[in-house]
Amino acid sequence: MAGVLIYSDKLNLALELITAGKAINDEVTAVAINDEELAKGLANAGVKVLSVANEAVNVADTAAVASVIKELAGGVKTVLLASNRRGKELAGRLAQKLGAGCLTDVSSFTVNGDKIECQRNALGGATVATQVIVSDKGVIAIAPKSFAPAGEGSGSIELVSLDVSSKVKVLEVKAKSADAVDIEAAEVLVVAGQGVNSQDDLTDIEALAKKLGGEVACTKPVATDKKWLSEERVVGLSGKLCKPELAVLLGVSGQVQFTVGIRDAKTIVSVNTDENASMNQLSDYVLTADLHEVVKDLNSKL
């Protein structure tokens, strides 16, 4: 089997992988595991779908999913996965099974002859590396929203049965906090950094975001350490990579793992008491002042 095999358990991401796959080879085959809806959705995007029905395989069991995909990958040279958490975890395992080289968090690629030149962040986001898999087989995990979802087409579904066992049991699946914000889609972001004094200050910051027609986002420690905001709102290498028209950064020092998530913004404003904050070097407008005063002032003027 020539061509490209794609897999994600999320339909929206799998559709993006079809587009990415077709940029490599016309022949794209998709995998669905215990998910008829996914199989149908993929077939409606015009690809052949290998649909696996085996209750022993839970998509939460990375080892089992990797075994399934390896079985189906046959002579395929390239497997594309989504670089969401599930996909990244799977990527290394599948690559090891296939004896393949692997690149994750790939945001774009150029096909140059038989080489796929992939771009991904390196050095914590300080640089962008262009890398090529030179082994016979390759596993590439594509960052979400890097490609447009595939349009409609007429594909087919082939049912496949496989024998796989599992050492992982899912006891419970809990919905995360109801925070369904999509900061990647926002045109304006007001970003709370560690310079924000207390959780109470977020009220004013939210008001400002609203006035600007945007959303509140934050740096990693504000969510994971202080727990003032949900993880959905984290900008940075291990959070979201955002491209708003305007980003207003409040008390953000500018660690590289953060800046990688905001450097594609059109205009960046940095408000910080430290005039030497490294963020200021990466901003269009720099205001050296107490962010709390600035927020109050902006709220009264806008």
């Binding site: 939460a60 069991d61 990375t62 080892a63 990797a66 958490r85 990244k88 975890e89 990527a91 290394g92 395992r93 690559a95 090891q96 099974k97 393949a100 080289g101 692997c102 994750t104 968090d105 030149e117 050095l123 914590g124 300080a126 640089t127 962008v128 262009t130 890398q131 090529v132 082994s135 390759g138 050492k167 992982v168 049991k169 899912v170 006891l171 419970e172 699946v173 809990k174 995360k176 304006v188 990693k220 350490d225 290498l237 291990s238 305007l246 590289v256 793992q257 450097r263 205009t267 070097q281 990466l282 901003s283 407008y285 720099v286 205001l287 050296t288 002032d297 902006l298 003027k301 806008l302």
Partner: protein, 250 residues
């Protein structure tokens, strides 16, 4: 019971300077990735009240022997290091092969902890590759770990849901960034770290075939940045500038 924490030596990212879009590593100190420190802290918390032993496992160049003291000070009981200056630029597949070879020399390992990704490359492959090489179950992006006999109950934190999972031990677990606040060692702990046991092996001692590199890097450049860096003196001035750019008051 041994808990192994795999850790990677990386350059201190805050101290890397960019010159002509190239990263400059001169005089940049070496450290351990932040998420690896979260993994170690998780191990230290698991150890409390048990007779578990924490082994920090690392592969890299000769400098690792010094860098790893940070982990021994922060709660690891011993270090298992595979050092060779050829490993300086080794890729994920090669490091995974070496770590797995090291693990195979250890007894009674119940948990192998990783961070979700290294501080520098953040590729997140090595843990998954080691799990495959060791033929062990794995759970990634874990925010809580509870060990009960020969199983662990862990929470995997995905973008949209949390999965509570029971996994047979031994298992490979990778922890999510920022799930805890790694302790800062006291001076006494730092002094004691130098005396903790260290097993240092060379590549020849583990007799493995590293295999050919599977990845080639064509370039690694800082993105071009052409920010205006205009210093404004007041909120009024800021509002004026942003209004002129049609960014506010639309």
């Amino acid at each position: 019971m041994n808990i192994v924490v795999a850790m990677k030596q990386i350059p201190d990212l805050q101290q890397i300077r960019i010159r002509n879009r190239q990263p400059v590593f001169d005089d940049v100190p070496l450290t351990i990735g932040d998420i690896d420190k979260n993994a170690l802290e998780a191990a230290v918390n698991l150890k409390e009240g048990t007779d578990a032993n924490i082994i920090v496992l690392s592969a890299g160049n000769e400098d690792v022997e010094d860098t790893i003291k940070e982990a021994l000070a922060a709660g690891a009981d011993e270090a298992f290091l595979i050092l060779d200056d050829d490993l300086e630029d080794a890729e994920s597949s090669q490091i995974a092969t070496i770590l797995a070879a090291g693990l195979k020399k250890m007894d009674d390992v119940s948990l192998i902890l990783f961070g979700e990704g290294s501080g520098d490359n953040y590729s997140g492959q090595v843990g998954s590759r080691v799990a495959e090489l060791m033929d062990l179950p794995q759970v990634g992006y874990v925010s809580t770990i509870e060990v009960n006999g020969n199983v662990a109950k862990v929470t995997r934190s995905l973008e949209d849901v949390e999965e509570v999972i029971e996994v047979e031990l031994p298992a490979v677990i990778s922890v999510m960034a920022g799930i805890n606040e790694p302790r800062i060692p006291s001076v006494t702990q730092i002094l004691k770290a130098g005396k903790k046991p260290k097993e240092v092996l060379e590549l020849d001692d583990i007799e493995i075939d590293l295999g050919a590199a599977t990845i080639e890097t064509n370039s690694n450049l800082a993105p071009e940045s052409d920010r205006k860096k205009i210093v404004v003196k007041s909120v009024d001035e800021l509002v004026e500038k942003l209004t002129a750019e049609n960014l506010i008051g639309r």
